[in-house]
């Protein structure tokens, strides 16, 4: 008789060390409740603009269903290059410095894997997007959290970065505008970080997927700072700016040596991003500016609505300057983030994400996405008010 199989025995140790996503737990809880209003969704509520969808339909009609170069369509890389030189006055060679990926998630994974040796430390300012820590662990690296605080507007301070750097530090992951706080960093703030980064000779993975979604002032692209281009892996994508989440399309830009290393991993795990999505992305870059700007203005109005609403309720809300998340404090209710989010879900059917899911620095906060309709935001605010009044 053959031996019985215990599949769990085969699971790699690293998998057991990575905690399950806190967001996943809220997904499961929220799925049990009908008619909940969701402020938990990290994706635009706009449908991809019609002209982009139409370009994809047309490409299918033309039979454009093949693989593309591992790097992505040259036409798309040229458009990406043009767009960044126009926006930030930085130039990337479409032939060797741009890699088209399946979402920023893949770009992030490939970027981390391409530079991380076992035991390398990667600094992650928190609160941070939930994928950063696990991605570093999967790559055999050691995530080193740095706490950002509301007192500093959730910006990374150069002295905090400096204090976290050891001789094992390989890279820093930056994410501005930030998910979950909505914080941004000014050019001056980033210059100070650049000084530390250069001094200690470390790489920066800069996730700027929300760069188009900034309010009251523009975005500073980290690699556009003096001396930073050669030590930055710039990640960006189409999901947020053009409401193209389901297309799973993004890109990385970095010096040729880094892009070649990333491409090596990408070609064996993904081969290439889907051609249909790539053709849609070309259309987005060429003709998507007006609709994108309109979406940003809509988000801006919702941002004011939710921030002033939360403040009126008594939940002190940090003013987000980018992305589409409000990050109010629930500390003065006496409840923890998780207690607040869970009770709000069960008692008032409003889905939010507790801040501690994004690391310890998020304790006492709540992530509320305002990428939902004005009516839903107003209804959610009324329910949150009823919940807080009842405490």
């Amino acid at each position: 008789m053959r031996k019985t199989c215990h599949p769990s025995r085969f699971v790699a140790d690293v998998i057991n060390r990575v905690p399950p996503s806190g967001i996943r737990r809220y997904f499961d809880l929220a799925s049990e409740i009908d008619d909940a209003i969701s402020l938990g969704v990290g994706e635009p509520d706009f449908v991809t603009p019609w002209h982009i969808r139409e370009a994809c339909i047309h490409s299918l009609e033309c039979g454009e269903t093949s693989y593309t170069s591992n790097y992505g369509l040259m036409e798309l890389r040229e458009e990406i290059s043009k767009s960044f030189s126009g926006k930030y006055n930085i130039s990337y060679n479409p032939e060797s410095e741009i890699l088209v990926t399946s979402g920023v998630s893949e770009a992030l994974d490939v970027a981390i894997r391409s530079i991380t040796n076992p035991g390398d430390e990667i600094i992650i300012p928190q609160p941070s997007y939930v994928a950063y820590v696990p991605s570093v662990m999967f790559a055999g690296g050691v995530p080193v959290p740095v706490m950002n605080s509301i007192e500093n507007n959730f910006r990374l301070l150069p002295e905090d970065l400096e204090a976290a750097i050891t001789d094992k530090t390989k890279a820093l992951i930056l994410n501005y505008p930030n998910n979950p706080t909505g914080a941004t960093m000014s050019r001056k703030d980033l210059e100070a970080i650049a000084d530390v980064v250069a001094e200690h000779d470390i790489m920066v993975i800069s996730d700027e997927v929300y760069d188009c979604l900034t309010y009251n002032g523009g975005h500073t692209c980290f690699s556009s700072l003096e001396g930073m281009r050669d030590r930055t892996i710039l990640l960006n994508g189409f999901s947020k700016a053009y409401a193209m989440t389901g297309f799973r399309l993004a890109f990385a830009m970095a010096p040729p040596e880094i892009i070649a290393s990333m491409m090596l991993i990408h070609q064996y795990c993904m081969l290439c991003a889907p051609i249909i999505a790539q053709l849609g992305a070309i259309e987005a870059l060429r003709n998507g500016q007006t609709e994108m700007e309109k979406m940003v203005r809509d988000y801006d109005r919702r941002r004011h609505l939710i921030v002033s609403g939360l403040n009126k309720i008594g939940l002190d809300c940090f003013e987000p300057k980018g992305a589409f998340y409000a990050f109010p404090s629930v500390k003065n209710t006496g409840l923890s983030s998780e207690e607040f989010a869970e009770r709000l879900l069960f008692e008032q059917k409003v889905v939010t994400i507790p801040g501690n899911v994004f690391g310890e620095a998020g304790n006492g906060f709540l992530r509320c996405s305002y990428a939902t309709s004005m009516q839903e935001i107003e209804e959610a605010l009324a329910r949150i008010e009823a919940f807080v009044d009842g405490l």
Partner: protein, 169 residues
């Protein structure tokens, strides 16, 4: 007559709020834009005075309301007067209450009118007696509207809502 005013970002926000909901209060616009109410009111007054805001209007699904009115699009081919161009004719046309809109077109026809009446017969007679008989009008083509699917950017039938996950990573 385009771009007489140099619109700033704040003004655009306010105009978009009003275009979305003509009944929105100045206080609500102030909340949505983060501007003081007084500034919102002042900009709206300026926009009204300068004619950028022409009228506060409601988009109504008349079919759903059970309205029996008939609408037609009338295309006109016209001859021009040397000194006045289209202006004299257009001024005559838009004074008729039956005429809801007047547009100058490129292509085969010169003008397009939207006309309403209580019956097809009434619209047809109006075109035959009041429009076709004008001196400058050489030719007309009348298209009766059978159903309106979209009006002023608003889709006039119930659409299926796409389901989103309640939580995403």
């Amino acid at each position: 007559m385009m771009g007489l005013l140099n619109m700033d970002e704040k003004t655009r926000h306010i105009l978009e709020c009003l275009e979305e909901d003509a009944r929105i209060s100045h206080e609500k616009i102030a909340t949505l834009t983060g501007m003081p109410v007084g500034e919102v009111s002042r900009i709206i007054k300026d926009m009204e005075n300068s004619g950028v805001i022409r009228k506060y209007k409601t988009v109504i699904d008349w079919d759903l309301a059970g309205d029996e009115n008939v609408y037609a699009i009338i295309e006109l081919k016209v001859s021009l007067e040397r000194s006045l161009g289209y202006q004299a004719l257009v001024e005559r046309l838009y004074k008729f209450p039956e005429v809801r809109s007047v547009r100058l077109l490129s292509g085969q026809y010169d003008l397009s009118l939207t006309v309403s009446g209580s019956s097809m017969k009434e619209v047809a007679f109006f075109v035959a007696e009041k429009i076709s008989t004008l001196e400058q009008v050489q030719h007309t083509a009348t298209h009766f509207v059978l159903k309106t699917y979209k009006e002023d950017g608003v889709i006039l039938y119930e659409q299926d809502h796409l389901a989103r996950l309640p939580v995403t990573p």
